[in-house]
Each structure stands twice: as C-alpha cells, then as structure tokens.
Amino acid sequence: MSLDVREVLNIPDSGPRPAKKQKTAAPRTNLKGLAREVQSLGGDNPIAIVPEVSVFKKRRFGSRKPAAKWELRRFTNSARGDSGALVLQHWRRMHEDVSHSEDQMQDVLSQADQSAEGGQEKIEAPEDSTFAKFNVQVVVPQYSEDQYNSNLQNDDWTKDETDYLLEMVKELDLRWPVIWDRYEYLPKGPPAGDLDGADNTAVIPVPKSRTMEDLKARYYEVAAKMMAVQKPAQYMTKPEFDLYEMMANFDADEERKRKEFAINTMGRSKDEAREEESLLLEIKRILARTERFTEERRELYQRLDYPHTDQDISIYKSSQGLQTLLQTLMNVDKSKKRKSLAEGVAGPTPTSAGFAAGQAPHQSSDGPGNRRESIAASATGHLRRDSLVSATPATPADATPTSAADKKKKGNAAQFERRKLSEQEETIYGVSHHDRLTSGPTFRYEKINKLYSHKSGQQQLRITNLLTELDVPSRLIMPTAAVTSQFELLWAAVTTLVDLRKVSDKVDAEIKLEEALPGSSGAHKRSASVMSATSDKSSKRQKK
C-alpha cells in the first residue's frame, strides 16, 4: 500500500515494511506525472500496466547532447607506395580535443573549398589510412651465393629458378594458387653470341612445368634450411621450432594425394556418396561380427581340444563315476575363482599330463579312490596348464597375448619363462636380464653413487677433480643403461689412473729419499720393503 493511502487511513508504519518498499520503489522513481499516480495506486504489488510509450520519445529528446560532428579529412595510404602523391578525402568523426565553437562546423563543411585553395595548415599532414597496416609484406628467406652453394643445391632447380620462385612468392604474398598461375620461368638460353650460328628455334629451352606442390616443396625446403642456418634447431623457441618442423616435413606427394582425394570426394555424385557410406557401415558390421565369430570359434576349439590322458578312465564311464568327476572339477573350479578358459589353445601333450599329475598333491598311492582323484587332478592340471601356456602364440589368432587376462593369472615362474620377448620388444619395454640382482626397486643412478661411496674421501676428491678436468658433468645427464655402462668403463680407467699416480708419487718419494741418503743401509732396507709393496700393487693393477 502506498504511503499516501496509509496516511489517509491513519495506519502506522509497521517495522520491516519500509525497507521492503524501498526496494520495490527503486525502479519506479523515474515515472512522472499521471503514470506515477497510476502506478502508486497498485501499492506494494505493482500493477501490470507498463507505461512504456514514453520511452521512445524520451530517449530521443532526453539526451540533450549536441549532434556528433564530422569532418571531411584528407588522408593518404602509405601502402600505395607512391609516397603520398595521391590524397583522398573521407568523412571522419571529429576529435573531442578539437574544441572549436559552432563555426567550426561551417569550417568543416567548407573544407573542400579551402583545401582547393591550399591555404590551411591541415593539408600539410594528411593522416595515413587505418587500412595501411594491413599491407603486410611477406618475409622471404634471403641467401647469399655461398649459402646457396653450401645448403640449397638441388638437381631439379637452378639458382636462377629458385631466385625467380622467391621473387614470385614475395610479389604475390605467398598466395600459392596465384603464384602457380603466374609462374612462367624461362630458363636463360645460352649467350646471344652462340645464337648466331645455330638454328634459333632449337636452342630455346622448354620451360619446365611445375605443379603447385613442386613450387611449395622447393620454397619450404629453402625456407626451412635458411631458418636452420640462421638459428640451430635446438635454440629455436617453440613457435619457431613448430614452423621449422612443419616446413621441413612438407611432403609434396602427400599433398598431391590429399588434393586428388579431395577432388574425388567432391566430384562424386549423391548416389555414390550414399553408397560409400552404406559400404562403410557394412564394413563396420562385418568387423564387429568377425570378432565375435573368432571368439566363438576359439571357444569351440577349446572344447574340442580336450585333454588326453593315458591313465585308466574306465572308472568314469559309469554315471556315478562321472558324478564324482564333476564334483571334483567343480570344487577345483571354485577354489580357483574360475579362470578364463577362453584363451589358450595349445593342446596338452602326454608329457604334460605326467607333469600335471606330478603337480597334483595325491599321486603316490595306488588305491582306487586316490587314483580317481589323481586323474581328476591331472585333468584340472591340464586346464590350468592351458591357461598358463596361453601366452605362447599357439595360433595366429592368439599371437597377441591378451594382457588383461594375463595379468589376472597368478601363474608360476614357468609362465614368465614361456613368455619370451624378442630383443626388440625388450628394448621397447625396458626389460633386461642379469645374473645377479638385489631384488626391489632402485634407481639407475644409484649404481654410480655406489661407485663413489666405495672410495675413500681422498680418492673421491681426486677422481672428481679428474672428471671435472675432462669436463664430465658431476651428474650424468641421462643415466640410461648405455650411458652408465660407459661411465663405468671411464670410472675404471680413472681409478687406475688415480692409483697409478699414487704409486708414481711414492716412487718419486723413494728416489728423493735415496738421493738424500746415499749409501745409508738403514734407509735402503726400509725403502726396499716399501718398494716391494708398491710394485705388488702396480702389478695387480696391470692385471686389470
């Protein structure tokens, strides 16, 4: 309810209300006159009549700003390259800072006449067109004669033609279709002097026809090589390197194929397109089906390929015997949490039957009950073995070991042994074989740390000094297997050298001692013993 009504009816203001009202009142404040009265009749719930009519008119007259001023301004376009010879005019909005009064308007309007008179200072500096910045020049690689000879030689392209190509590229701003269209390279004929004797028509060389891909390939080749010459690849920044790599990897054949393919695709009729699509769908369906089909077939093989046994199976021929067998199998099955039998086609051999039987816990006693069990166990042994053997590619379909299933199995050592990786695979998967290993995870560099820690402090210092002298970094940059083994060789050499130096120093000291004490028998005795020790050491070292 509006305040007016409240006052009339003498209703006191209740606490929280005014706050609320202020909120709702806010958007209404700009209403005037009758509209406001009508609106306030509605009280707190505003009525649906929206006095909108006034908005249009109001806006028009509401902003009482003066009309924007425009002026006819002269401009040049630096992209024309005629150093401002051509001066044109266009209407531009006048700047705010031009704080002239109304008569400026007249000024502007009569600008045309004034400029004709040439009396004004504005004429002296016509502004440059805003579009001039779009006149971008292509940066074409530059090369000197020497650089061309050392880097850019090509049997198919003469230097002249390469120059011509780069000229075209520059002139036509890398617009390849246009370049290809205009490309008319005429190889220079022999000098005019030679023309006299020969038949003129014979010596006019036939211009080679170049495809767009030829042109592109040559240009990119030149550009990439010059880029690499100016800045070796490892110092390039990321965008530069990307560009370089893209240009260096340009494959004209691939490009040609792509275009051919695109032409074919665009040139086909609606029916052809539809047919192609349906064929693709068909292929997908067939592929999906073959997968299921091979799966089924494998399972079938699996079933057909039942394990043979050379043991007596007559006890299972009765229905009761079969029942027992089933029971045993089920028990074993349960305990193994149902291994997948789907893969593994390798048929067990009689020897494997023996092996499996040997694995079974009860095999020694000859009692019929035990025997029955042992056969059952051997049968399950086969099944288990099947799954173990599965990793060896028995059939082409099985050639790729299904990793997921493999991982689920907790096989024994035999499983791993069977799964031989080729040498190449071993490098890919980072697997290597060693005679002696301490199990557990380690780091490659630890080995080198150990080399250091096995030496005394003095020796460590000597060795590190030597290595720094040789400019070997204090930590290997890439401690891969190859690098570490190389480092170990170096290490052996360095330790030999350090030890040798030690011996040599000792001998030096001996000599000095001998020189200092000529003929002293006591000194001689002592030094002799030291001598023998040192020679021992050196001989040991030589053996290494």
């Binding site: 110092y235 390039m236 990321k238 390197f241 990793s403 991982k407 199995k409 907790k410 024994n412 050592a413 499983q415 791993f416 890919i428 998967y429 980072g430 697997v431 290597s432 074989h433 060693h434 290993l437 199990s439 557990g440 995870p441 380690t442 780091f443 490659r444 560099y445 030597l466 290595l467 040789l470 400019d471 070997v472 930590r475 290997l476 940059i477 890439m478 401690p479 891969t480 297997a481 190859a482 690098v483 190389q486 030999t496 050298l497 040798l500 040599s504 001998v507 001996e510 000599i511 001998e514 020189e515 000529p518 003929g519 002293s520 028998s521 001689h524 030094s527 002799a528 050196s538 030589q542």
Partner: protein, 235 residues
C-alpha cells in the same frame, strides 16, 4: 586388481627399467611476467614447482601410485602427498619462497608391484648457475627467466613379482630427438656416450704414459739402490 597372494615369487634375473624426470622449475617474481599473487609474503622472491613426471609427458601412473614431497620445515604443511594425477600430467607441488633447500621425494609404487617406497633427493635451485661463459649464454638464451633443474632418472624394478604389475605392457622408449622444453632423448644420450668415450680415451692415454714413466722411475730407483748397496759394500 588384488595384489598377488602372499606377494608371489620374484622373477629371477629380470630387470625392468622405466625412465622418468624429476626436478624443479623456478621463476623469479616479476611485476610483468610473473606477478606475485596476493597473500604471498613480501620476502618471497620466487615461485617454483617440484615435479615427478614421465619422459615426454608419458603416463607413469601405472607404476607410480603417489609421491610424497617433503619440503623445508618452515613451509606450512611441509609434507605434501600427491596422488596419481590423470595420465600424462606430472606429480607436482607449486610453492613460493626465497631459499634453496633439499627436497625429499618419496615414490610409492603401484600396489600390484608390492614394492616398498623409495626416496630421491633433489636440491631446489632458484638461482641460475653457469660454470663458464658458454653456459651463461645458453641461460640467457633460454630467456623467460626460468631456472631449470631437471634430472633424468630411470626407475629399475629388479626381479619384479610375477604379475609384474602390468609394467611390461607399456613402452619405455626415449624420444629420438630433442624438442624445446624436452632436453632428454636418444640424441642427448648418444652425445653423452661420446663424451664419456672421449674422456675415457684421454684417461687411457694418460694411464699409458704414466705407466711408461713409472717403469722408468722404478728402473732408476733399482739402479740407484744397486749403487747404494755397492757403495755400502765398499764402505
């Protein structure tokens, strides 16, 4: 996947290697390129990141479950545990600070591998260090003010437990060539091997020379001794 019952048996004589990179990247605060975020104490001069990641950003989460970064005690909450990020993303911790210190990096392996965690140490580097002019130049060329201290390392699983944690199914290849921001590759490896080989040749040279010298000296010493004995005999 459940761990193998009773941790299984170790496969004898097998070693599986996985390359990875760990290290720090630091950037000094700069109003223009690296503005200091709000809430960073005034005396902090650098923002830095410590990370463990696969080479060429390959996935390593299949063998590395989580990483614990132990930072300096003065940093609030200084033991940071980072769980496996999405494949291809590094295990990393971002921090700001002013001082260099040693970070203890503890690697926890995938549960299937049943291996105990291992520890690495890395020294946080905030200030570039160049041994000679050439390196200084290389640093300057690097340009963006990043101080990089990256270490290439190979994780070796010696005699892994049998189901080998699925590690075998993944490649451990090293990229063939360097790219910007990826300095470790076959190229670098070959360069290093060559360097080591050269160094070895030099050492070999020195050893041979020294051996000859030593022989001469020993000979001389023998002669001198003989003379001394002779002189002694005479006396």
């Amino acid at each position: 996947m459940a761990p193998p019952s009773g941790a299984g048996k170790r496969v004898k004589g097998i070693q599986i290697a996985r390359p990875f990179i760990y290290g720090t990247t630091a950037r000094p605060f700069d109003p223009k390129t690296n503005p200091k975020p709000a809430g960073v104490p005034d005396d902090h001069t650098h923002s830095w990141t410590v990370f463990v990641k696969g080479i060429d950003d390959t996935d390593i989460t299949y063998w590395l479950r989580r990483v614990q970064f132990k930072l300096h005690e003065s940093i609030p909450n200084h033991v940071r545990m980072v769980e496996a990020p999405e494949p291809g993303k590094p295990f990393e911790v971002h921090e700001t600070g002013w001082g260099e210190f040693e970070i203890t990096i503890k690697l926890y392996y995938a549960t299937e591998s049943s291996e105990k965690p291992q520890t690495l140490y890395h020294f946080l580097k905030l200030h570039p260090f160049a041994r000679n002019e050439e390196e200084k130049e290389a640093l300057a060329r690097n340009g963006n003010g990043e101080v990089i201290s990256w270490t290439y390392e190979e994780q070796l699983f010696n005699e892994p437990f049998e189901p080998e944690g699925g590690v075998l199914e993944r490649s451990a290849m090293i990229p063939l060539a360097n790219r910007p921001g990826q300095p470790f590759s076959r190229e670098t490896e070959l360069l290093e091997i060559k360097k080591l080989r050269d160094a070895q040749a030099k050492i070999q040279d020195m050893v041979e020379k020294l051996q000859v010298e030593l022989k001469e000296k020993e000979e001389r010493l023998r002669v001198m001794r003989a003379e001394a004995v002779a002189a002694g005999g005479k006396a």
